[in-house]
């Protein structure tokens, strides 16, 4: 529900203060919840921890990097009623809110503010009307609203990485538990596969990925998308020519993640997304992997075109 956004970092401290004053005095339960969140937050200063290396000498990305456990709710007990309040911080425990620059996951206070963000793909004039139409009909046509995988880059950085010699596995856990996904990425020189080699499972939403190292940076190259992937909620469709390049670099307990989107069929130029920094999550041991199924039952009841 609701879409929010903000432009400029100054709003953060102001809004946090307002929220804090709204909730003062806070019941013990709410204070405790905040203490736990604060305790779980990593230190965001420069990491003194050396970057671990795997046995093949490359930086080891293994770890839990972004555990978006839904939301951290505030709770008030009012008589017999437990009132769950919207949390006062959306940031997952292992990501800096200030670094949450991806247009898809950044916080907005209005649809208009999100649309004003210049960080967006540049569509060719001849497909502008299609983008506008999909945007208008998003509630009914957005694949991600119908239990389809969000694809890359909409899924954001992986929440957990498991690395071995010659292979890296990215694991994803969606905020609304509508999907669990993984990508097995060879880094041993294997080329992209053909549809014959994948037994017809490609093209797909998450595409076919291969990785290689440039110094200590892992480059992941992904192609073979199915043309059903949206890059964001505002009708940002893609073609089967979608090509995503992700760059990952680890410094101590910080992961730098950057993605570039190319789609010469529909975009005028590559969409170079801002780098995000993620912090190692020491709180959780793994992401969730088998959640209740995703079953879309709302579309038939959508009667007006509002969307987030």
């Amino acid at each position: 529900m609701g879409s929010g956004s903000f432009d400029g970092k100054l709003i953060w401290p102001i809004a946090v203060l307002v929220v804090a004053s709204c909730l003062t005095p806070r019941p013990v339960a709410a204070q405790k919840a905040h203490t736990e969140v604060a305790d779980a937050s990593p230190s965001h200063g420069p990491s003194a921890v050396p970057t671990p290396r795997s046995i093949d000498g490359h930086p080891d990305f293994t770890g839990l990097w972004w555990a978006y456990r839904g939301v951290n709710l505030d709770v008030e007990q009012v008589g017999n009623t437990r009132v769950n309040l919207q949390p006062t911080s959306r940031a997952p425990v292992s990501e800096d809110p200030e670094n949450n620059l991806s247009v898809n996951t950044r916080i907005y206070d209005s649809v208009a503010a999100r649309r004003a963000n210049p960080d967006k793909p540049s569509y060719k004039p001849e497909v502008a009307s299609k983008v506008a139409r999909l945007d208008r009909l998003e509630a009914k046509l957005d694949p991600a609203m119908h239990c389809q995988l969000p694809g890359i880059v909409r899924s954001g950085p992986p929440q957990q990485i498991v690395q071995g010699p010659g292979v890296v596995v990215f694991l994803y856990d969606s905020p609304d538990a509508s999907y669990d996904a993984f990508r097995v990425i060879p880094t041993d020189g294997h080329p992209h596969r053909t549809a014959e080699q994948t037994n017809g499972l490609t093209p797909s939403y998450m595409g076919d990925s291969i990785g290689h190292w440039e110094g200590d940076t892992l480059i992941v190259d992904t192609v073979d998308f199915n043309g059903q992937v949206w890059l964001g909620i505002d009708g940002w469709f893609t073609s089967t020519k979608l090509h995503v390049t992700e760059r990952l670099r680890r410094e101590g307990e910080t992961l730098h993640y950057q993605a570039t989107v190319e789609d010469p069929e529909v975009l005028t130029k590559p969409w170079v997304m801002p780098e995000r920094t993620l912090h190692l999550n020491h709180t959780d041991s793994r992401i969730e992997q088998e959640e209740p199924p995703c079953m879309e039952m709302d579309t038939a009841h959508v009667v007006t075109p509002e969307h987030h």
Partner: protein, 137 residues
């Protein structure tokens, strides 16, 4: 500032700050009308513990004795769990009173704001957005 005002304000600013991003599924006003609250008392006839929304199907006895079946939508399973509501607490056969907002299409569908159990304890799961009576944002 009264509790209600504090909750409303906190909800609003929380909404502003938090706003679950794209995966939050459909926008509430595309489907539901916050100015059409309904309070229903009945027995859970079926629970769909699925994502991205849990559905509680409630058999509600109408004054004439007829039973109306309501589909009552709520949050994803993970958020409900965080809100203090387990699958067991709303399983088939559970008597419940539910405050919800009706679907715009006029069907027996509504979005849950508050669950109240027969022992009187209640859990409210309303995370901001527009309060009833407030102008559209």
């Amino acid at each position: 500032m009264g509790l209600k005002s504090r909750i409303a304000l906190a909800a609003f600013f929380g909404w502003l700050l938090v706003s679950i991003p794209a995966p939050a599924h459909h926008a509430f006003p595309a489907e539901f009308d916050v100015d059409k609250p309904v309070t229903l008392t009945g027995v859970v006839s079926r629970l769909d513990w699925v994502n991205p929304h849990v559905y509680v199907h409630l058999d509600v006895k109408e004054p004439a004795g007829k039973v109306a079946v309501w589909s009552l939508e709520s949050w994803p399973t993970g958020i409900l769990h965080k809100s203090g509501i387990s699958k067991e607490m709303i399983k088939e056969g559970t008597p419940l009173t539910i405050l919800a907002y009706r679907a715009k299409d006029g069907t027996n569908l509504a979005y849950i704001r508050k669950f109240t159990w027969s022992d009187g304890h209640a859990i409210e799961t309303w995370f901001g957005g527009r309060e009833p009576g407030q102008p559209p944002q």
